[in-house]
């Protein structure tokens, strides 16, 4: 029983991080209609930037998260403006919009990874943050970093929710996400909003990177696996659905930890894909998605 | 016997009932018109018959006596139902000839895996196919564009090509979804001339959705009028024209111009 609870805790702590990255992926998908295959590298950049702020400039951890979010967000906006903008403008067709976006995403991820390597080197960097002694409830061991991660994730989600639902800009962002032409006709500066969406998505990926830093250390190659898990989370929760992304992240986290615990630990990374494929096959709109936005 | 029959045909999208218990017969050898206001369910009807959408339970679609309800689209095509699309849906990166050959697909005389080894029979079958498609191309007047990508054609030529692609299937029933949309009056005449010529040549049955009333009235033997997914009138064109329910659906309550103007003025006050 305690073991089960332990596995659940692990599932939830990693799940919220999956969820946050998935949130960004979903946001980009709804906003720009692209599945961003380079998002894992954005997350990695965020983690490194957080590290730079925390250790080179000795910024407190929470502020490092914020700084990393801002810088990564700006980086995302530059990437969107320079590269994706052209592709989204080029519009339909199987060469450009469908496959092209995916290939461009892969290319971008290779480029970003290489740039990070050239800046920070290939070795993993520790991200020690002293949260103090873990909580101990009976036999269950609950490190404070887990709690901090969960809290930060909740704050992020809440912030994003408030931003989207309660602010005027948030309303515009949703309008752009749902229908760009109409948003344009309502006087919304759509290109700006798209950049904003991309920036916000990148910023929250950065937050995820900084949050996971103390748990898993920071490394140039960290993005790819996270991307796969976050994709799984986004699809499981329903692509484009923001609460779905978080729930999907939790589900993927719990599913793979329970799978690792009770089926076979060696195949842990396969479980996420398994869940992804099962959901795609039997409920393409995702578990919480209202309507599947399958691209033709 | 009717070539195409629908019984209790229904389709809802979410809460919206696009087609409601539609009963319709298309007689073999006839030209059947389907008219109705925008959103009355004409395109949905096409999509249901050709298997693009799945029908609601209880619906029956029969073609040549066979129940084809909810068959896969290609199965229906294989049985001799060809259609055109309002948005044409041409294979624009393929050449004109290839577009037709795709239509001819169901008549290809070799198995899908056979071309891997490309035996003589395959080569010969391909040659025969190309020849007969060239014949069709000359009927619709696109022979000289055979090797051009379909995407490079002009608007009128595209309409002709979409007609040709449907004809390449050697169908028994040809369903045309607004074939004349966007054409100039002379081109409409040319197109309808070709359609009638094809009908005579191949003994087709035609089902036409058209907005240009003149086309429907001039060419159709029988007309069905849809409104809000329901059949509100059917008969020969001249009968339909005078049908009270039809007129009602198109014009609403029979208000005179003055009454309408009065309603406007009242609202403004």
């Amino acid at each position: 029983m305690e073991a089960l609870l332990g596995f659940l805790i692990f599932g939830v702590t990693i799940g919220v991080v999956y969820g946050i990255v998935a949130l960004g992926i979903s946001l980009i998908y709804t906003g720009l209609d692209i599945v961003h295959f380079a998002h894992g590298e954005i997350y990695m950049f965020g983690a490194f930037l957080g590290l730079v702020f925390a250790h080179q400039y000795n910024v407190p951890y929470w502020l490092a998260i914020l700084c990393a979010m801002i810088v990564t967000g700006l980086l995302g906006i530059v990437i969107e403006r320079v590269f994706y903008r052209r592709l989204t403008r080029a519009g339909g067709g199987y060469t450009v919009a469908g496959m092209g976006m995916i290939i461009c995403g892969f290319g971008m991820s290779v480029v970003l990874q290489n740039i990070a390597f050239l800046i920070w080197g290939a070795d993993a960097e520790p991200f020690p943050v002293n949260f103090g002694m873990p909580y101990q409830i009976g036999e269950i061991f609950l490190p404070k970093s887990y709690v901090a991660t969960a809290v930060a994730a909740l704050v992020l989600m809440g912030g994003l929710h408030v931003f989207l639902k309660k602010t005027k800009i948030g309303l515009a962002v949703r309008a752009v996400a749902q229908n760009k032409d109409i948003a344009f006709l309502m006087g919304i500066n759509v290109p700006l909003m798209i950049s904003l969406i991309f920036g916000v998505a990148c910023a929250i990926a950065a937050a995820a990177g900084v949050l996971i830093g103390p748990m898993q250390s920071v490394q140039v190659e960290m993005g790819y696996l996270m991307l796969m898990k976050a994709f799984a989370a986004a699809v499981v929760g329903g692509f484009g659905s923001l609460p779905g992304a978080i729930l999907g992240g939790l589900l993927v986290g719990i599913f793979e930890n329970l799978g690792a615990a009770y089926i076979s630990g060696s195949h842990k990374d396969i479980y996420a894909f398994l869940l992804l494929i099962l959901v795609l096959m039997f409920r393409p709109q995702g578990l919480f998605g209202v309507e599947a936005k399958v691209k033709a | 016997m009717a070539l195409l029959e629908t019984r209790m045909l229904s389709k809802s999208f979410g809460g919206l009932r696009a087609i409601q218990q539609l009963e319709m017969d298309v007689e073999e050898g006839s030209i059947h018109g389907l008219i109705g206001p925008n959103g009355s369910g004409k395109s949905t009807f096409f999509n249901l018959v050709t298997g693009v959408y799945k029908t609601d339970p209880g619906s029956v679609v029969r073609f040549a006596g066979e129940d084809i309800t909810n068959f896969e689209a290609h199965e229906i095509g294989r049985r001799g139902v060809a259609r055109t699309f309002q948005l044409l849906r041409l294979f624009s990166e393929m050449t004109v000839l290839q577009n037709l050959l795709v239509g001819y697909h169901t008549h290809t005389k070799y198995a899908a895996a056979a071309p891997i080894f490309r035996p003589r029979s395959v080569v010969r079958a391909d040659q025969e196919a190309s020849e007969s498609m060239f014949e069709l191309l000359s009927i619709i007047g696109l022979a000289e564009f055979a090797d051009m990508p379909a995407g490079e054609l002009s608007g009128g030529q595209r309409r002709l090509l979409s007609l040709g692609r449907a004809m390449a299937m050697r169908p028994k029933l040809l369903m045309l979804d607004e074939p004349a949309a966007g054409l100039s009056p002379t081109n409409v005449d040319v197109l309808m001339g070709i359609v009638l010529d094809l009908k005579k040549r191949y003994g087709l049955t035609l089902l036409i959705v058209e907005h240009i009333l003149k086309v429907v009235m001039d060419t159709c033997d029988r007309v069905t009028v849809l409104d809000h997914g329901q059949k509100i009138g059917e008969g020969a064109p001249h009968e339909v024209k005078d049908d009270h329910a039809v007129v009602e659906a198109y014009l609403g309550k029979e208000m005179s111009d003055e009454e309408v103007r009065a309603a406007f003025a009242k609202a403004a006050r």
Binding site: K168, L171, A172, R174, A175, Q178, N179, D181, I182, A183, F184, L185, M186, G187, I188, N189, V190, P191, V290 | I35, G36, P37, N38, G39, S40, G155, E178, A181, G182, S184, P185, E210, H211, I212, L213, K214, V216, H228, K241, D242, V246, V247, Y250, L251, G252, K253, E254, M255, D257, V260, R261, A263, F264, A265, K266, A267, A268
Partner: protein, 244 residues
């Protein structure tokens, strides 16, 4: 107020409009008529900046707005109301209306206009907290018109507000359009429903194959035999035409 001169535009390589001339006087209702695929919607898209103008001139209040970004055109008070099916289904009615007011920052004015919209279309007020995806076709059409009004327009361009609606609803909507025009908003109405449009408008254009074919005062057009014969399709036939 709006002056379109020799407008040419299209999609990709395909030219849709080949020299269209339209002019709309301030405070009037002008209608552009034509069947499917004649280029009516393309005209509106070019006017609101959604597609590039290839050639020609668009003057709004004497200033060129050709190839401006859509939001800049909106800022000048020229608002397009899209077809009824294009609301934001995942937003509530009120949120939809607030999107329309995005460019404005005067809270009181927005409040006033919101009340005005609810006054025009009381059905919307009843459903202001509902997701707009649950509305009926007529209500959605009211919603998109209301959303256009929220931008405080000086000129409103309506794209087929009667499409796929029951006659009674069409009458209601047209009556409200008339009311809006009476409040001082210039209206450009693009329609297939020739009879209703000509009853509402003062002046009409009929376009076909990307060119203006006939133009004139509404009464003249509705009396024109050639108009009846060639352009009045299924949805637009009047009683007389059906039986002629």
């Amino acid at each position: 107020m709006l002056e379109v001169r020799d407008l040419q535009t299209g999609y990709g390589r395909i030219k849709i409009l080949d020299g269209v001339n339209v002019s709309v006087a301030g405070g009037s209702i002008v209608t552009v008529l034509g069947g499917n695929g004649t280029g009516k919607s393309t005209l509106l898209k070019a006017l609101s900046g959604l597609i590039p103008v290839w050639d020609g001139e668009i003057l709004f209040d004497g200033e060129s707005i050709a190839n401006l970004r859509p939001d800049r055109i909106v800022n000048r008070g020229l608002i397009q109301v899209t077809q009824g099916k294009e609301a934001y289904p995942a937003m509530t009615v009120e949120e939809n209306l607030m999107v329309g007011a995005f460019t404005r920052s005067d809270k009181q004015g927005i409040r006033r206009d919101l009340d005005k919209v609810y006054d025009y279309f009381p059905a919307l007020q009843e459903r202001r907290r509902q997701l707009s995806g649950t509305l009926s076709g007529g209500e959605v059409q009211m919603l998109v018109i209301g959303r256009g009004l929220m931008a405080n327009p000086r000129m409103l361009m309506l794209d087929e507000p009667s499409a796929a609606l029951a006659p009674q609803v069409v009458l209601n909507i047209f009556a409200n359009v008339y009311r809006i025009s009476q409040s001082g908003v210039t209206i450009l109405l693009v329609e297939q429903n020739v009879r209703m449009a000509l009853l509402l408008a003062g002046y009409g254009y009929i376009i076909r194959d990307g060119r203006v074919l006939i133009e004139g005062p509404a009464e003249e057009l509705s009396g024109d035999e050639s108009v009846k014969l060639s352009y009045l399709g299924g949805t637009v036939a009047s009683r007389e035409q059906m039986s002629s």
